[in-house]
């Protein structure tokens, strides 16, 4: 059994079932026209069926690898179509991307409060100083220069909007 495949199948089935329940509240067909629930019901039903098929596949042995088309995962390791043994003690999710993702997600609410430049500076500092351990002059320059340059390019030059934050409203007298 490949646990990740089975778990994925279960998630897809549950998601499809949830979508199907919601779609059942939308009209499917009227006298002459397909209703708003027509397409969602078909798609959600398809997801449920595919989710169940995925669970079933998760319990079957792997078939030989054929035609690895599309952006195949770089992490994929197969030997003659069979998954190579996972490195002992290696977690399914690695630490570094999780830390980056956590910092990235935490920065989102800060955009509304501190504005784009300040929040991006903090995010850059977190990524370069804490995650990447780069404590040289180049890193310090990038931490400040990239947010400022991005702001100048998109807001001042191209007239696009980026979050100003509350600082811009003068809350702290700025």
């Amino acid at each position: 059994m490949r646990r990740a495949d089975v778990v994925f199948g279960v998630i897809v089935t549950v998601l499809g079932a949830g979508a199907l329940v919601m779609a059942l509240y939308m009209p499917f067909l009227s006298a002459t026209t397909p209703g708003p629930g027509f397409f969602p019901r078909l798609v959600a039903s398809g997801l449920v069926i595919l989710g169940l098929m995925q669970i079933r596949q998760g319990f079957r042995p792997l078939a030989p690898e054929v035609r690895p088309v599309g952006p195949v995962s770089q992490l994929e390791k197969t030997v003659h179509g069979k998954a190579s043994p996972r490195e002992p003690g290696k977690a399914f999710l690695a630490r570094r991307p999780l830390i980056v993702l956590a910092g990235y997600i935490v920065s989102v609410p800060l955009f509304g409060v501190l504005g784009f430049v300040v929040t991006t500076t903090i995010l850059m500092a977190f990524l370069l100083l804490y995650v990447e351990k780069r404590r040289n002059l180049g890193a310090y320059v990038c931490i400040v220069a990239i947010p400022v340059a991005t702001w100048l390019l998109f807001v001042e030059l191209l007239g696009m909007e980026l979050p100003n934050g509350m600082l811009h409203l003068g809350m702290l007298g700025i």
Binding site: M53, P71, P163
Partner: protein, 503 residues
Amino acid sequence: MSVLTNLIDGFATAMTLTNLTWMIAGAMLGTLIGILPGLGNPAATLAILLPLTLRLPPTTGLIMMAGIYHGAKFAGATTAILLNIPTETSSVVLCYDGHELAKQGRAGPAMGMSAISGFIASTVGIIALTFAAPLAAQLAVNFGPPEFAMLMFFGLLLVVTLTGKSPVKGLISMFLGLLVSTVGVDIFTGTERFTFGSVNLYDGIEFLILTLGLFAVGEVLVNLEKKRDKVEKLNAPKRLRDYLPNMADFKQSRMAIAIGSVVGFFIGALPGGGSTMASFVSYAVVKNTSPHPERFGTGAIEGVAGPEAANNSEAGGAMIPLLSLGLPGSASTSVMLAALLLYGVQPGPLLFTNHPEIAWPVIASLYLGTIALLVLNLPLIPLWVQILRIPYWLLYPIILVLAVVGAYSVRGSIFDVYLLMAFSITGYLLRKIEVPATPMLMAFVLGPQAELTVRQSLMLSNNNPMIFLERPISASILVIALIAVVLSTWGRRRQRRRASAAI
């Protein structure tokens, strides 16, 4: 021969020093703005620069727009190949092989092939437009909702042939994309679908947010799993000759360019066809007709040549419904239509009779635009490829920051940045469990139009699904689609048997 004479007159008008200068300026501006997230798709770039072009005389302004259009298209290919960020839907397919080539240190040949195949396909497109326009226009007007529904069905079925090891995972990805595409207010009835009462979801989910999350940030997170010293920087070519495609590349790509040129032109000629459909269908056809389909997705140069050829010849084909029927086939041609109307020119059957001084120079300038790209951007490829020399510890924070800018810029909403985070996590997890993200994106793009045309068709037939089989063109498309899937499945089984025998 009058068509040919008109085209030659069009070239004569377009090739004045003033027009050529503005066209080159347009191609440069289009490339520069096109590589920025949020502004990357040609429609957005055209829209931004529209006020500038409107200050020029109509012919010059429209010629400049053609330059901008080609510049932005090339920029889309550039970001897809170098950074795995498709800024427009038609560039998504370039991430398969283009970015793989970049990882192998062959970004220059991939970009060179993108420009050269585009140039060849544009040549085919312009010749076809000149001589086959009446026939193509006649065929195009016979396309109603059932035919389009089957074309969308064809496109979605092709996803099955594009999936990786597991067709089930590919189909799940596709259905997830279709589900995401239904979010928002139903355009027929105004009913909310999967909005959970949030006003932010009334207009649905934007393409750019999905693509930035699934591809750009997802790719960054996967790369971060590698040890630091292994992802210091992506490979950049070392010698000057490595920046351009070699003879072997051209030999491998010649059929792909031919197929892409023909497929792109005919899909472009359909009202509503669009470059996305053209590039995806071209990729699928090139892959399924290749003697080595297993190379696709691992850095096959023909996987860049075919879609880019289709993407460029589509521009020629798209002029048929735009200029002869006044029907734009894509967002970009919609902006061009708006420009024509702002100049007081009404596209339609009489355009070629009433305003030949505008119609033919515009067609000529589309071709000249690709020459401008070739002359301008081919020598600049070494410069663009320097992006890959940026160390990864610096490149990935920049990608993350630009992703936020792109997501926020769509509607000026922090909610969209949250959605970006959600799709980034989805993209990362999908890669971890080896589910290809491309079918999801493709289904998301094709989904709304597929739903629209199916519902329109059923309205026409009082909910009788036989309408798809009763009309000859839609039935033919359905049969071709089913044959393509059967052939693909048969080929997959045959290869599996061979692989089993080899163990």
